[in-house]
Symmetry: C2
DNA sequence: CGTTAGCACTCTCGCTTGTTGAGTGCTAAT
DNA sequence: ATTAGCACTCAACAAGCGAGAGTGCTAACG
């Protein structure tokens, strides 16, 4: 079933209006709009059809119509064109983010804040995943009797660190020599390859077996799994400004989403590497997101790294602006993280 | 003006009741309580007196009475005894926290979550400040052409890291030698002393002047200032469960507190190293906290380090339980962080 | 003289009722 | 096919009312 032009136009007008006002839209409102040359009665007939087709819903008889998820889906699929961003705004964004130190977390944090600020919705940024990145350097630094800090530097300059236990009597020089050796062996390899190297090369090094086992274990943990710190949320309370969350229960329900960063990261990563993915209302699996839309985008870091950024807002969000901003922000993050 | 025993007892009864119900307390309610042998009329007279003295307030004529900030102040000053914690609960807390890796952030995070969980209020934990701590180790690790990661390990095992720029042609071995040298010179000294050492010892090392200047600068920044990551918040949305925040505006207002971790840390640190400090309602400077109470405690790390933990809840919070829990949690954190 | 019973008074809360206004659906005229 | 007209529906708001909780005051009591 395909909609004729007029139905299409009316539906678009309704969505445009509802996105701004968050109030059910009546036939008069649409009729008054410039560019629509029909009386309320005609609009009503069309609206009635659209309702039957599942694009509109009525909160109650004698209220206006409200777009359904299906309508938003049609809207984003067929009507979404990228917006322009003023050079002024671009400047502001780049300034804000590039003022940071080169630390990945700082940049991620800044990006999340900025994204929340320009869209006025809640933003989520996941730090670049590291699986396919290659190791550039491994270093062990003594911290105290029996513990050392292990630092892994990867291509793209992303670092991970973790405490591991080492023999109590090992010297600083010894650790350094070990670090150099590890770096020499592992440099340029991916985690997959590292596993094999460990199995092959280090099998006979009985002396440091336990230590190296620890190193491998930490690598697996840190480089495979997304640590909770790698998810950054910006503008958590932004959504409380929208009337759909003026009910305290809905607000509470919504805020629980952010209690588990792991689940959040899981959600975001479901976009399967798509440039931009939009999930509207019931298209979300998570219970608490049934009344929200989730827009996610992927950004690249270097050749093999990639991360995700997302915006969570009401289903009636301003998709055009959000998508535009996400695209741009993705570029900026890529540039910042790869360029370093 | 000192209250006689009966007034005192009645006031306590009112507060106890209000803490649980959050509803204005009437004279009948108090009269019915076991241990009070007076009729509602008598209670009313006393209540009237207490109101005149500023301990009670009436939301409106013919509602019950509500304790004022002054009443809570009296309550915590004179009636607060520590509670007992069941060994079972102690066990649960220690298990949860000690299951973490030794990383400071992890422990802080776990402590904040646990504190929010056992009190059902919002918790804030500030990582130990490092000023008076002594440096144990400095290490530079190459990250990419022209940048290195600088890691400072202090007594108590607290680490700080930062990226600094280094000459592009410096070798890994060279950086290691430099690290060893720095460690040798700075080990066991406080930041104050480090400044002097830099001025004295390294003055003539013209070659690495720029590099060392960078090292010093980062040290100052990282070790002096509290980085925003050092403040961890647990159970942000816990307070939304209480009726005093069922109004969305109040909730929003309250949630803005957590937007700036710096300001939050500033607030917490105002307890001046006191074991336990309680600020009730209007005793707080921050506008958004006028209807809340803030309970803070200091914990020690090693000999010279200290950090703060805090609970934010409604003025009618269960001070007894909160204080008890804070005391215990402070001990646990101390043990975890110092013991490593 | 402290304590208490009794009573009039006040104010919130929840319920019902009426009114208004926005918006619809249908029908008949254009 | 479009539109004007009209009857109808329903949420939202305001007004009015009774019930209930709680107070303050006064007078009686031990």
């Amino acid at each position: 079933m395909v909609l004729d032009d007029r139905k299409f136009m009316i539906l678009k007008a309704i969505i445009d209006d509802y996105i701004i006002t968050a109030m059910p839209v009546g036939s008069r409102t649409i009729s008054r709009k410039s560019g629509v040359g029909f009386s309320p009665a005609t609009i009503r007939n069309e609206m009635s059809d659209l309702e039957e087709l599942g694009y509109l819903a009525q909160p109650h008889t004698s209220a206006g119509r409200v777009p359904s998820d299906k309508a938003y889906r049609l809207y984003v699929d067929s009507l979404l064109r990228s917006d322009e961003i003023s050079t002024q705004e671009k400047q502001r964004i780049e300034d804000y983010i590039s003022r940071r130190s080169g630390q990945v977390e700082d940049i991620i944090r800044a990006a999340a804040d900025m994204l929340a600020d320009v869209t006025q919705y809640t933003s989520v940024v996941v730090a670049p995943r590291i699986q396919t990145l290659r190791i550039r350097r491994v270093q062990l630094v003594p911290v105290s009797e029996g513990t050392a800090l292990m630092i892994v530097v990867t291509s793209a300059g992303i670092m991970k660190d973790a405490l591991i236990s080492v023999p109590a009597d090992i010297s600083s020089d010894n650790l350094y020599a070990l670090s150099e050796m590890l770096t020499r062996e592992l440099e340029g390899h991916t985690l997959e390859e590292v596993r094999q190297i460990f199995a092959r090369v280090f099998r006979d090094m009985s002396m440091n077996r336990r230590l190296l086992g620890g190193v491998m274990k930490v690598m697996e943990e840190k480089l495979t799994e997304d640590a909770p710190e790698d998810v950054v949320i910006g503008g958590t309370t932004k959504l409380l400004n929208y009337p759909e969350y003026s009910d305290i229960d809905k607000a509470k329900n919504f805020l629980t989403i952010f209690e588990s960063k792991e689940r959040l990261a899981g959600m975001l990563k479901k976009n399967g590497g798509m440039e931009i993915s939009i999930r509207i209302g019931s298209e979300n699996e998570m219970e608490a997101l049934q009344n929200c839309s989730l827009v996610t985008a992927t950004y690249r870091v270097g050749k093999h790294g990639s991360g995700t950024l997302g915006i969570i807002g009401p289903t009636r969000m301003n998709y055009r602006r959000v998508v535009t901003m996400m695209e741009y922000m993705g570029q900026v993050i890529s540039k910042m993280l790869s360029g370093e």
